[in-house]
């Protein structure tokens, strides 16, 4: 496979993300990386669970959390996961335009999620004076949810830079793996969120 083939968007195999050795490497490597990421988030979840009662006399999760916001955020992120599936669907059909559209929707949903999250943090900080320094629970909450938020930011930046860079030249065997693993990353963010809304929010108000 020469660079000529790689950058030629005419012919697309049905798994363009794995058609080149580089693509295969990226694909496998990224999955491995996600294995490591699960340990990363497990460490954060474990810490959170160990400290979620350590409110040190400050605000507790029952007093803080409201479920409406979390529900909306969950819906946004879940939907964005589906839209990125659509994007990959069109990528495999070699339909670059549609892929870009769906990616655009994904990004928009992700941005929406992020705005709500920022609003939530802001709310806690200013309404309840609940910060990272309030208690061990505060530290653990902001760190876990913030790490997830950081992943969302990174995912969005990744999508956007990929879209901008490739807007003109369309899909090829060089960038298909990049799109594909970015979408894997996005799904993984969703996986983490499923546990966050369950463990942090739902169990937190119980």
């Amino acid at each position: 496979m020469s660079e000529h083939d790689v950058l030629n968007p005419k012919h697309m195999p049905h798994n363009p993300e794995k058609a080149t050795l580089e693509g295969k490497n990226k694909f496998i490597g990224f999955w491995f990386f996600l294995g490591g990421e699960s340990v990363l988030f497990a460490s954060l979840f474990g810490t959170y669970l160990a400290l979620n009662d350590s409110t040190n006399g400050g605000k507790s999760s029952e007093e803080l959390f409201g479920l409406e916001l979390v529900f909306i955020m969950t819906m946004l992120l879940l939907t964005s996961s589906l839209t990125s599936v659509y994007a990959m669907y069109h990528m495999k059909n070699n339909d670059f335009k549609k892929m870009m559209v769906w990616l655009g929707i994904t990004v928009a949903l992700g941005l929406g999620f992020l705005c709500f999250e920022l609003y939530e943090f802001n709310h806690y900080i200013h309404e309840y004076e609940f910060t990272m320094r309030s208690s061990a629970f505060g530290s653990a909450f902001y760190t876990l949810v913030g790490f997830h938020g950081g992943h969302v930011v990174f995912g969005l930046l990744w999508f956007i830079s990929l879209m901008v860079r490739n807007a003109k030249r369309g899909l090829n065997l060089y960038n298909a793996p990049k799109f594909y693993i970015a979408s894997l990353y996005w799904h993984f963010i969703d996986v983490v969120w499923v546990f966050i809304f369950t463990v942090v929010y739902l169990m937190g108000v119980l």
């Binding site: 491995f32 340990v39 460490s43 040190n56 990272m132 530290s139 830079s161």
Partner: protein, 619 residues
């Protein structure tokens, strides 16, 4: 694009630039070797200072505070900046060659990993010059670490964070390389044992380092941003740090030990002229050790107060590791059995390793017995245990590997006589230093003791121990002399100076930058040996001569690392003065900018053309 022309005479600047931008695994290996070797000397000097302080009771060669910095930096330097990078040096130099690959899977990441390690290592040591290095032990237990004044521990946190990121990349890179880049016929069960151990160690890196990453983040938030994870007054809990550290820390010792086992498997098999006895069992044992390695971390915490149930479970799980390790020891012994054993320097290290490591492993099982560990824990008995396994296992392996693969890496061979002198000084010095420490521990000498009282029966043991340490120093100096001498003489050797068995010996020393002109066809375990027994000189190619795809050099990894290095200072000093935040922005700007550049600039490499290869062959 004919970069093939021999690059004999290059200006210093050009060579430097070449190394700063290289993505060639062989050059990266050399850089790991130099940097890791340098840090080994630094850590060794720290060890000598430690031993000198302890040469007599109530000594005041160094102050208490400085002593604490010395042990912390000794442990941290040796583990993260010497042993791991040196292992990476050999993994880089050897693994792609052993599996018949032209490069690693992610050459760019490979180079990034190196530069992150180097700048992280520098960051750790900057503390020395800015009012004191980290002083809370290499384990940095909170709350001692979170309340330690000054910036030493901040440098520890950020330095390890940066170099840890590099290590993680290295781990993923080797995993993918081994999965995807094997030559035709190189099935998993034909991979040399060093490659196997590199594979399992990389998997351990992948699963263990994230726990450290999180631990370091929490510590950073506590120290620099007022969080309270480990602060009892805020409801925090310092035991969390201990768990996170050891969930990483225990697999870490196998990350070091497994590749060491791999090195010895190669050497023992080569120099007894036999295939490895029980290859399948060896592979299985490697995987099992890796797996069990994740279930035993709390054996470092028997005295923390987790209760008898947890202590018993972890004690038994820990002891279980003796079984696969024993399988390895016996398989090595039976590889030697019936062999034609040639004792040269690499083999001497291997033969020194077997009894030494067995002793260290046995004391490991002793400390694994929870109720006995109530006595052993945090005494010199434990210091003795882990130096027996780490020095007697890992450092011996690194020195063995150094002599074994030096010809492959540099095309010239280390002097055998000097090598043996090095060995004997180091080996005898080692046992003098550490054997007696078992008794010191049981006689009531805790570890991390700046000094000990007079008249406690500890004087003689410590004196002997110090003498031993200096003998190791002498041994190390002979090694340095050997390296200088060999490099000056520069007698060239051929591709296969040891009459060895694995693929890396099938190509010239040092290998051309594309490694294999034609990918080899692997027809069994010990592929080169297979060909030799059938009377062939080298490997049968699996493909006709064709264009070779090569990755482009890049300066970006260096830039990214510098960026993070700069940002590190911003994070640390913003606790005094918020204007330092600008450094964070500058540093992160540089790093992210470089990453962005990387992602928008296509990097699809270049090709070495068939014609050039053929021309070269004719020359």
């Amino acid at each position: 694009m004919s970069t093939l022309v021999a690059t004999n005479k290059k200006s210093f600047g050009a060579t430097l630039w070449d190394y700063l931008t290289t993505v060639d695994h062989k050059k990266i290996a050399i850089m790991y070797l130099i940097a890791g070797g340098f840090f080994f000397l630094v850590g060794g000097l720290e060890a000598l200072a430690i031993r000198w302080q302890l040469v007599q009771p109530m000594n005041d060669f160094v102050s208490a505070g400085f002593y604490n910095e010395l042990i912390t930096m000794h442990g941290t330097t040796m583990i993260f900046l010497a042993a791991m990078p040196l292992i990476f040096a050999f993994m880089n130099a050897v693994v792609p060659l052993q599996i018949g690959a032209r490069d690693v899977a992610f050459p760019f990441l490979n180079s990034l990993g190196f530069w992150l390690f180097l700048f992280g290592g520098i960051m750790l040591n900057v503390g020395w010059f800015t009012g004191g290095a980290a002083d809370a032990g290499w384990t940095a237990y909170a709350p001692l670490s979170t309340t330690s004044p000054g910036e030493g521990v901040d440098y520890y946190v950020l330095g390890l964070q940066i170099s840890g990121a590099g290590t993680l990349m290295g781990g993923i890179n080797f995993l993918v390389t081994i999965v995807n880049m094997r030559a035709p016929g190189m099935t998993y069960m034909r991979m040399p044992l060093f490659t196997w151990t590199a594979f399992v160690a990389s998997a351990l890196i992948l699963f263990a380092f994230p726990a450290l990453t999180v631990g370091l983040f929490l510590m950073m938030f506590d120290r620099l941003f007022g969080a309270g994870f480990f602060e009892a007054n805020m409801g925090g809990n310092a035991v969390i740090w201990q768990h996170l550290f050891w969930i990483f820390g225990h697999p870490e010792v196998y990350i070091l030990a497994l590749p060491a086992f791999g090195v010895f498997s190669e050497i023992i098999s080569t120099f007894s002229k036999k295939r490895l006895f029980g290859y399948t069992a060896m592979v299985f044992a490697t995987v099992l050790i890796g797996f069990l390695g994740f279930m035993v971390w709390a054996h470092h915490m028997f005295t923390v107060g987790m209760g008898p149930a947890a202590n018993s479970i972890f004690a038994v799980a820990t002891m279980a590791i003796a079984v696969p390790t024993g399988i390895k020891i016996f398989n090595w012994l039976f590889t030697l059995w019936g062999g034609s054993i040639e004792i040269n320097t690499p083999m001497l290290w291997a033969l020194g390793f077997i009894p030494t490591f067995t002793l260290g492993g046995m004391t490991g099982v002793m400390v694994a017995a929870a109720s006995a560990d109530y006595q052993f824990h945090d005494t010199y008995f434990v210091v003795a245990h882990f130096h027996y396994v780490i020095v007697g296992g890992v450092v011996f392996a690194l020195l063995a590997g150094l002599h074994y693969w030096w010809p492959k890496m540099f095309g010239t061979i280390l002097d055998d006589k000097l090598g043996k002198i090095t060995f004997w000084f180091f080996f005898i010095g080692f046992h003098l230093t550490f054997f007696i420490q078992h008794f010191l521990g049981l006689m009531g000498m805790p570890r991390r003791y700046w000094t000990y009282l007079e008249n406690q029966g500890l004087d003689l043991g410590n004196l002997v121990s110090t003498i031993g340490a200096f003998l190791m120093g002498v041994g190390t100096i002979f090694l340095l002399i050997n390296i200088v001498k060999t490099t000056m003489k520069n007698e060239r050797v051929g591709g296969d100076p040891w009459d060895a068995r694995t693929l890396e010996w099938a190509i010239p020393s040092p290998p051309p930058f594309y490694n294999f002109k034609q990918l080899p066809l692997v027809r069994g375990l010990d592929p080169l040996w297979v060909e030799k027994t059938e009377g062939r000189k080298g490997m049968t190619p699996a493909e006709p001569i064709g264009d070779i795809h090569m990755p482009n050099n890049s300066f970006l990894p260096f830039v990214i690392s510098v960026g993070l290095f700069i940002a590190g200072f911003g994070f640390i000093y913003q606790k005094h003065d918020l204007s330092w935040l600008t450094l964070i922005f500058i540093g992160m700007g540089i790093a992210l900018g470089a990453m962005l550049t990387r992602s928008v600039k296509d990097d699809i490499g270049y090709h070495i053309h068939k014609e050039d290869l053929q021309k070269e062959a004719e020359e």
